[in-house]
Amino acid sequence: MAEPILDIRDLRKSFGALKATDGVSLDLRPGEIHALIGPNGAGKSTLIHQIAGSLKPDSGEIRFEGRDVKPLDVAARARLGMGRTFQVSSLAPEFSALRNVMLAVQARQGSSFRFFKPVMHDRSLTEPAHEALARVGLSDRADVSAAELSHGERRQLEIAIALALGAKAFLLDEPMAGMGPEGSQALTTFLDGLRAEAPILLIEHDMDAVFALADRISVLVYGRIIATGTVDDIRNHPAVREAYLGDGA
């Protein structure tokens, strides 16, 4: 079995008496889509925040490509190759879609302290950015400011940014949220192909997408992972049915 890219061991985080993350262990292996599901308030976002570095865990380990990333901040983890998208789109609103992606390209090139060359004439920035936009189907919206994009387009733009980063693993926080059925379908197809490029840790409420895409599923309830397994394992897991899928499955 290949070494996991992302390896989380016994992670814990409490807010006062609330155990938001209660001994979570989880890994992400090359080539896979690992879906993380759970009811609202189960601690999915708290977990993502700790992985990406915007929240500090109380204890436990987070390794990325074998390296302990706990001492690193958000930016340093992103530079290692964590490509994160946000549950609520987080973009530079005044910048065009293209410039949002270009920012990721320049970050990947490790060159933000250049003061004189105009970026819009810098093809080493614009070309990869256009490429990433084309891959998510946003080419014709390249010059529109992020603030003016539709909700669905902003989600696509977030993914284009993660692509342009050359991420070694994607952390996608509800990428389908608020998308219409057509958009979700297109995105499902896209993510299906993306796993060959880099593995995906997918947090998603859209069960159709999860069951269609996931190689493995982990179920998070009250800060604990109550089950990890294939789609079939999870569908048939009694504790999962009771705690989460209930009668809706």
Binding site: A52, S54, D73, V74, A75, A76, A78, R79, R84, F86, S90, L91, A92, P93, E94, F95, S96, L98, R99, N100, M102, L103, A104, Q106, A107, R108, S111, S112, F113, R114, F115, F116, K117, P118, V119, M120, D122, L125, S145, I161, L165
Partner: protein
């Protein structure tokens, strides 16, 4: 060329033309007014890097303006007295040396202030920058070696190779030249990779960090560059008045620099200069009518903030575009 660039060039050229017209009419006083506009425009352009591009509302840029001014005053005094300054180094009356010294001194202070203040944001940042500038203000008042509260005179304007700086037009051209360099520098930074990171940080620093660029370092560098440009203007201001005093460090000065940017247009290339032109004209015109002109300045400023957002550049060139 964008409309913004065109209008910026027209404003800059207009200032130059105004000085030449004043020269032709023999009105040296108006040349001095134009010089004042150029210097304040440069100071505010420096602040515009931090405030306009980076969203860093520094209420302490008078500190850097004053450091530039005192660099000119102190170096000139030592050159005048022929007393060594520090470690046996002499003073100087060469503007170029003074500019470099002033900018470096301000840059070093900006590193220290930035390291502490940039760990915070929002209102904290505003108040902390204000407090540090105030600290330097009180230091200048209570340290008697260079005049203390009374300030320091520069008996002969410092020199620049190849010109007679005492001629108003020559000194204007020096200031104007530095202003143009400052504006070009601002435009280059704005359009560069560094500028992209800086502006993205203003809009959304979570996003900036998520692509792997740490906002802190970007902001610190911007803050230092911004301070150095404002210090340069401060050195010119000292030479214009041939006098420096702690009032260059006062919080009114910091407020005035922000006011120039707001009147002109935040983050706009020629915004600070447009603001400086309007401000100096206003001060001159209204100051001639009533000694209480600041009362009316307050009213107008209030109206601009409440009802006319975008400033002069917003009126002339429309809303800002970001590629």
């Amino acid at each position: 060329m964008t409309r913004e660039t065109t209008i910026s060039i027209v404003i800059v050229a207009g200032l130059l033309a105004a000085a030449f017209i004043a020269q032709a009419m023999g009105e040296t006083f108006y040349i001095t007014l134009a010089t004042r506009m150029a210097i304040l425009g440069l100071a505010a352009t420096g602040l515009n890097i931090a405030l306009g591009l980076g969203g860093l509302v520094s209420f302490g840029h008078a500190a850097f303006f004053g450091i530039g001014g005192y660099a000119a005053g102190i170096l000139a005094t030592h050159a005048f007295n022929s007393e060594p300054l520090l470690l046996g180094l002499p003073g100087t009356n060469q503007m170029i040396v003074i500019w470099i010294a002033g900018a470096i001194a301000a840059g070093l202070v900006a590193v220290l202030i930035g390291l502490i203040s940039l760990r915070t944001s929002g209102v904290y940042f505003i108040m902390i920058t204000l407090a540090f500038a105030q600290m330097i203000y009180y230091f200048a008042i209570s340290w008697p070696a260079y005049g203390g509260e009374d300030g320091l005179s520069i008996y002969v304007r410092n020199t620049f190779p190849g010109t007679n700086t005492l001629a108003p037009m020559s000194f204007f051209l020096i200031c104007f030249g530095l202003l143009v360099i400052g504006l070009v520098f601002f435009a280059l930074i704005r359009d560069s990779r560094f500028g992209a990171a800086l502006q993205a940080g203003r809009q959304n620093d979570t996003r900036l960090a998520a692509v792997g660029i740490g906002p802190f370092r970007v902001r610190l560098v911007a803050f230092v560059i911004s301070a150095m440009m404002t210090a340069l203007a401060g050195a010119l201001f000292a030479d214009l008045n041939r006098f420096v005093s702690p009032s260059m460090f006062s919080w009114h000065m910091s407020g005035e620099l922000i006011v120039l940017i707001i009147i002109g247009g935040v983050g706009r290339l020629a915004g600070p200069l447009a603001g400086a032109i309007v401000y100096v004209l206003f001060e001159f015109a209204l100051g001639g009518i009533t000694e209480h002109w600041q009362f009316f300045l307050g009213l107008i400023l209030l109206a601009v903030v409440l009802f006319a957002r975008g400033g002069v550049m917003g009126l002339l060139a429309g809303r800002a575009r970001h590629g």
